[in-house]
Symmetry: D2
Subunit: 237 residues, 4 copies
Amino acid sequence: MSKIQIFDDVEVKLVQQMGSDASVVQAARVSVTGENVPDVLLNNRDMGLINYLMRELHGTPFESNAMTFYIKAPIVVAREFMRHRIGVSVNEMSGRYTVLPGEFYIPDADRKLINIGTSAKPEFALGDSTQVEAVQLVLEDSYKNSWRAYEYLLEQGIANEVARLALPVGIMTQWYATFNARSMMHFLSLRTQVPTAKHISRPQREIEMVAEKLEAEFGKQFPEVYAAYQRNGRVAP
Amino acid sequence: MSKIQIFDDVEVKLVQQMGSDASVVQAARVSVTGENVPDVLLNNRDMGLINYLMRELHGTPFESNAMTFYIKAPIVVAREFMRHRIGVSVNEMSGRYTVLPGEFYIPDADRKLINIGTSAKPEFALGDSTQVEAVQLVLEDSYKNSWRAYEYLLEQGIANEVARLALPVGIMTQWYATFNARSMMHFLSLRTQVPTAKHISRPQREIEMVAEKLEAEFGKQFPEVYAAYQRNGRVAP
Amino acid sequence: MSKIQIFDDVEVKLVQQMGSDASVVQAARVSVTGENVPDVLLNNRDMGLINYLMRELHGTPFESNAMTFYIKAPIVVAREFMRHRIGVSVNEMSGRYTVLPGEFYIPDADRKLINIGTSAKPEFALGDSTQVEAVQLVLEDSYKNSWRAYEYLLEQGIANEVARLALPVGIMTQWYATFNARSMMHFLSLRTQVPTAKHISRPQREIEMVAEKLEAEFGKQFPEVYAAYQRNGRVAP
Amino acid sequence: MSKIQIFDDVEVKLVQQMGSDASVVQAARVSVTGENVPDVLLNNRDMGLINYLMRELHGTPFESNAMTFYIKAPIVVAREFMRHRIGVSVNEMSGRYTVLPGEFYIPDADRKLINIGTSAKPEFALGDSTQVEAVQLVLEDSYKNSWRAYEYLLEQGIANEVARLALPVGIMTQWYATFNARSMMHFLSLRTQVPTAKHISRPQREIEMVAEKLEAEFGKQFPEVYAAYQRNGRVAP
């Protein structure tokens, strides 16, 4: 059996981008003037406009831009990620066309492992040392077993798409995702803890880790839009 | 360890439906008359209209209807299924809120197991008896190992969402999916062998099995639309 | 010149429907049990679940249903209506394939005609009798002129699609629109006054008239979903 | 009455862009390798891949890019444009927040004015000189009447959103539209004459004029994707 590699984190890299706070202002200004606003530093009136658009649920001015990310995370995260249908374009590594790398995710010691709430109102807490150890050992052992089955089936000449049935949702996968600012904010509002939000559900920690890294990049590229998003705590549906 | 159950097929059940061939005609007629066409037997002119709409790439008349299905299939199929973003609404069993049932998929002896083509032009063939046996035994064994790890972690008090990392993509899941006729035809054109299509790629057999069962129900509910779809081999993009 | 007909209201008729409050519960329950809930009277736990889904921004359980409406309203409304891209399917009367009927919209005396706020914070008030009369007379006269030009060009053998350039956005048009409950609530949250909303912009009165009629039908078909929507004042984005 | 201005053409300007043929290759390669392909000149194998993706109906690799356009065209075109829901983001000049400029569209002498086919199989031909003159004179006269009504109502203090009811669909409007390559090809396949297409319907000439200008820019930014699109005559639905 070839060796497997263990990851305890996800990876997010900005690949390409188009647009900025100024392009939001520009898209909005066409509504009132048809004028072209040069892509320069924003003044106070522009920043007021961005906040106004966010508060008044004008969604489309936040769509005339794009960001493409490379993301590496376990399948369990990819599964949740792919449920965001609107304004998100995705290309994922295929277990049909290729033999997957033996890379697996195991939570590190900081990951809260136990649910001390209910399933409707989950509240997570750190596990004790036995629990942490159980997760580390049992997952690694189970991953190795699955990986051995996968490799064995491939050696027998079985097609990738059949052999992969043995692989766990904790295996790492990779994908490119293209967002616009609106779809990004939809994603963030559902996959991070928004301070001004009224809901109590929490995302699975691993997709939250992806979301936090996306959020950091988003905040850098669109500082005013991001500030308005945080202030208002919601985006046009 | 609790016992696991093995499935060698997927399940598709029609749950509810709205509309018919006649509602396609009705939606199209509003374009020219604004008139209401009663939901009755179609005449030749109506059937000609359906074929005309399909051939001329008028997509929206095929959207004023709906079908909800219950689907049970392995995660590997659910993963591909969820990539169809447009006009398909899905609710899937959650491995966060619930402990998943120990139900797993293993292909039966008719499933072509080996790729005798390339990855770009795959061509599948039956495996020999050793290969069939390897798949059956190795997958079942691997599933049992994964299931044991999952149950053990749950017993240690680990949260569902962490314990499930050990579960394989061959485990069965369940979901409701709502289509309209247009999104159904998009799905079928990508996940079944369309006689009139020009492309050579083949879907993974397991999602094709889901697609074939959806197709059978769709053909029953929309016989004229289905006939026009087959005749033209494509739908408005 | 053929006579024109004046309308001072919009028309909304429910054509067909699928699903109910119970189908929302059913779609949500698959997440936790995979069980099928019969389409019967809801108990308190079901109603609690609907409210929980709404509050916690679970959007997809509200998509496994459908309603098709026939709508008649001026083009100015159709223009705003068609901007709702997600989950709304539309077929509209075509001015290319047919000669449009000479039906035009003129606001009645109750329609607030003047903006006493700003364009960013509009606040509408009733016009005085001179203003009401001006709107009635000037619009009717202008519509007649446009209609005369349209008819004249058609008589000269000019194609429908060219002759219609003269027609005003106040002319009535007709369309079928299919929503699911989620897209309906998105629509309503942007096109009606939601008591719990924080935004101050107001929709154009004429699309609000359409929205109010849609809302009435929606509330009848999905009373519990509608109550939860009103209570929470927002839907998953 | 203020003067009106007549246009006989539409305007399309590329505002910003992200991605290229190479980014399509890059998005596709993640499926098989997870590797990052530098954004350089494509080799033959890359160009073969693009053609393969197009032919085999792989849609998502064509979505990891973006182009924003400024478009100026009559409302009759905007109406058709806004029906493209998927992957197209639009911000249009608003007749609620602003007084519209007095700019109107009248076809020039090259525009085929008469339909010598049927409505189902339209075939357009040039008008004779009387017809050309009728269109020019009658439309300009009708536009002036409508414009006079609009200006009069505004002078009486009537709100923009009510006064505009008199304005014709031949008035010019302006919008920003953001596409990705896939949504662009969907648009082009429905709004231009595709040589390899099997359908016979023709778009209204004015939206075809917009589409042709978009196509020219698209072909410049994505020459290999565009060539593959033309060769295959269709895109993943």
